[in-house]
Amino acid sequence: MNSNFSCKTCASADKKLETFISNLSVDTSHHRMEGQSIKCGFGLQGICCRLCSNGPCRITPDGPKGVCGATADTIVARNFLRAVSAGSGCYIHIVENTALLLKKTAANKGAIKGKIALAKLAEIFEVNETDEHVCAEKIADLVLADLYKPDYIKMELVEKMAYKPRFDRWKELGILPGGAKSEVFAGVVKTSTNLNSDPVDMYLNCLKLGISTGLYGLTLTNLLNDVMLGEPSIRLAPVGLRVIDTDYINIMITGHQHSMFAYLQERLIQEDVIEKAKAVGAKGFKLVGCTCVGQDLQLRGEHYKDVFNGHAGNNFTSEAILATGAIDAVLSEFNCTLPGIEPICDELKIKQICLDDVSKKANAEMKPFVFEEKESQSNEIIASVIEAYQARRGVVALNLDAEHGNDDTLTGVSEGSLKSFLGGTWKPLIDLIVKGEIKGIAGVVGCSSLTAGGHDVLTVNLVKELIAKDILVLSAGCSSGGLENVGLMSPQAASLAGPKLRAVCESLGIPPVLNFGPCLAIGRLELVATELAEAIGVDLPQLPLVLSAPQWLEEQALADGAFGLALGLPLHLGLPPFVTGSSVAVQVFTQDMLNLTGGQLIIDDNAQSAAQTLDSIIEKKRQELNI
């Protein structure tokens, strides 16, 4: 490959992956970190504005205000709300497509695999329909109707879904969201040139977007997918580069919109398609998981044993997965589909197909998913993947790592599967928390990044610190992709936990870090938290529960974070979200939020001290609950 890249790659918590990547002859994000190591100070603090041609303006000792008079507080708040709006838009796009797909699936009498999820949604939404297809369509319609409301009309499902004490607080604060798509629009307008300059108003707006993002983009996306794709169930599964089997035609998937693959997945294991694979010398087709859509397939893996070979790795493992040479095609429908895969795909003759133009790669074939044409589209995709397989296998060198990852990652954990594992009630978990066998719960969520020490470095170190303090960790997002590859989601990781948590894990045969799958499943963690709070009879901020997105990466993570703060939970981030240039921002997030929602932002890139802070918050909440 004609590339001019650094030979020094960044560190990874996953040492095998670090070695694998450092020996690659293709350029990856891990190689590019060094060339991008010098960061702009104004960008890091969020005090650069380029909203008009008088700019870009930066806040400096000699220029304490932008040309228009915008202060650091205004500039930071505008940048932040813009980012949260964009992040919300991303998740709302996902739930919109998912609801549209459910509607069409139901109207066409397609398979309803998740009967429990359907019943649960029908109950929450108060839909009384005996016919499951009619019921599913009504549910999809209700979601879509809310998403499409104007911003001045409140969404109706918020009150039905939210925990009552939370809903009441949000109402008091005036942050109940109007139509979710319009709220994104409103956030963009508000932050444009010479419009809103009130930082506090903009941060409240972020909380509003957090609510619509969380309840719709996260929680509902999961539940709607459960209806179509089947509920998660707990099982052990292989993870890492080892899941790639060269006997098969391998398709790597990237994105967040799992239901788009549903038909293709079934098609790939039908007899006539397997025959086509055999005709070119392969045993059949396999999907190789990458990014959140892979995590989601893994979560529901029980339903997809034949076609899904396992989750290979998170966002910043995708280039390495392709560099094994054993992937024949990439199907992408959302982020995180790194631009960095483009030259690797060209070099290794890997076919790229995008199913949604939001994730169109420059050199990929665009094939927008159309429900009505899914049969012919799937056949066309299969034909072009076979063509790629024939053109590349035997020609492109393989570079596998059968040692990477493990075979016993516990997956399939969800609010439903965990509760049934506990015997259909949260009581056993609550008892363990009350007795102090489990000191508290930490949701370690969100992305993976290459900062804060390197790939997954802070995430893995923080989780080790937390479990050593007898804090049970629930994970969702690319963070789980990293945690599972280093073995923290395997039952034997119990030995790394503190004595009490270790005993609990060993008696149940579970790891101290539970894998809820994709970042969308942060919505499942919210369901768990809400059900626990309900069972105990307290509000969410009173629970001995903390959130951390140690290696948050992008705008969606900021919208997730806004949801966490709206829920009133303490939220740790490894690196500041480009707000430290504003004293108002720092005050609102780290202090005032406690009075607004009960939430609080903690910023610390040191695993030990961050774990100590989170531990002391949990201890304090335990004391306040008298346990």
Binding site: I38, Q45, I47, R58, T60, P61, A72, L575, T580, G581
Partner: protein, 149 residues
């Protein structure tokens, strides 16, 4: 002897060198936390912009024959014979600003807050990983070179 060498063609005017310098003189701060709005926020290096010529980084040269030292009557400015760096001792400074007037590069200035001392590059006290501004420059418009005199 180490000097900061400037390649003005490479400078993009990003001001990262300013931030680095201010941060280097705010105890315990980093790029995220340095307070650029504090009255104490003073940069010891400057970027000027000339239409037609582009950006001009202005840094203390730690001159061989430093005009600032020659014009200083109170002994506040001295050239270190070992490092070759021109160091400033605030306690000896009479705040006459002869140095400010005599520096041919215009790099010296009185402090903004009290106007009782001179703001001068201290070569980041010769810390082992080198001057903060140089580390922060994304364009390598400023680099440290060993010079023999």
């Amino acid at each position: 002897m180490k000097r900061i060498i400037i390649d003005r063609e490479k400078c993009d005017g990003c001001l990262n060198c300013n931030i680095a310098c201010i941060s280097a003189h705010e105890e315990g701060s980093n790029f995220y936390t340095v307070n650029l709005q504090s009255p104490d926020a003073e940069t010891r290096n400057f970027i000027k912009f000339d239409v037609g010529k582009g950006y001009l980084p202005i840094f203390c040269r730690h001159c061989d024959e430093p005009e600032c030292v020659l014009s200083c009557m109170s002994g506040a400015l001295e050239k270190d014979p070992v490092s070759g760096h021109v160091q400033y001792d605030e306690n000896k400074c009479a705040a006459c600003y002869m140095c400010v007037m005599n520096c041919p590069f215009g790099v010296l200035k009185p402090d903004k807050k009290n106007r009782t001392k001179v703001i001068k590059c201290d070569f980041c006290d010769d810390k082992p990983d080198g001057p903060s501004c140089v580390k922060a420059c994304p364009k390598q418009a400023i680099v440290v070179k060993e010079v023999n005199l």
